[in-house]
């Protein structure tokens, strides 16, 4: 999670609601992706998943 000095630049999370469906498609700045039908679960995943590349500022 992000505390203290805060997050680094370039940390962008995106969630697209897939048109014609009830599904949300999330993508993390690390490249990881996730599909869900609940926004609470989606943000939960976004913040707790194992990032693909270990970030240098951690």
């Amino acid at each position: 999670m992000t505390t203290g000095s805060g997050p680094a630049a370039g940390e962008v999370y995106r969630v697209h609601w897939l048109p014609g469906t009830d599904l949300l498609h999330g993508s993390c700045h690390c490249g990881a992706e996730h599909t869900d039908d609940d926004p609470v679960e989606m943000w939960g995943w976004m913040l707790t998943h194992e990032h693909r590349h270990e970030e240098s500022h951690r």
Binding site: L24, P39, M42
Partner: protein, 339 residues
Amino acid sequence: MTAFARNQWYVAAYGREVGRDLLARTVLGEPIAFYRTEDEEQRVVALADRCVHRRFPLSESRLDGDRVVCGYHGFTYDTTGTCVYVPGQRRIPRTARVNSYPVVEQDTFVWVWIGDPELADSAAVPRAPHLADGENWTSVSGMEPIDADYGLLVDNLLDLSHETYLHGGYIGTPEVAETPITTEVDEAGAIVRVSRHMDDAECPPFYARSTGIEGRITRHQDIEYLAPCLYLLHSRITPAGQEAPAFHTEITYAITPSTEGSVYDFWAVSRDFARDDEEVTTFLHDFNHTVVMQDVDALNLLQRALATEPAGYQELSINIDTGGLAARRILARLAEQKQ
């Protein structure tokens, strides 16, 4: 209760509200008295609104030049909040001072910093340049206080699907609630972006009557929420079948927590069309004020309902809440930071 993020800039007033009469505003629970200096600079001064003597509100006092003379027993403060005169004696106690807050006047707003003054960076004040750009934009604006947790206003503005229901016949049409959104969170900038692009939509009266469009439209709503205070809604309206966006409207909100259960809702509508048309200006001001009051009434009501709920009540979130949930998390992070 949504926690306050103290080390942030907040809009306390429009520049036009601050002059040679003291203005009282409470920001993040701190009562503040605002006024403008007499000199050429006409600088905005923000002093704690409680006299150090017996806590009389300085906003109910008078100015003597650039000094505030307390309306109760005459303690007199300079623009830094230092007491420079007490009645009847020559020794002024060393602790006789009130807090003075960092202020930036920019984009027609008076921004104030409540947190650690060491951290106040005037270059970091978020921008809404269209508000001061009379060359290219015509703006109408106002402010309404709401008796609600400021988080409820953030929720409201991040989820515009409510336009269809709460503002039907004004700015809402069926397409708003029906069209999927995309949400983007920029962690470093504490920015939440929510976009809703409607390809074939009814033109609501707000736009029909200001633009003269009669048929269907392409309607783009692109929100940028620069947490915690500034909210920009970039609205693009194009008559169906046309290529480029013909009508740009910038809808600006500043969300300033006043006390734990109240918030200032600063609102503005800026347009790049019919810029000199007074009738359009009056229409947009009055119509948008009506829309804002629909939200004010709803949030006052919602806050009263929530106050009677037992602690830890359950909410249910669906896809339309994706942006609002992101904003809540950002606010919680900002509130934890550097306290």
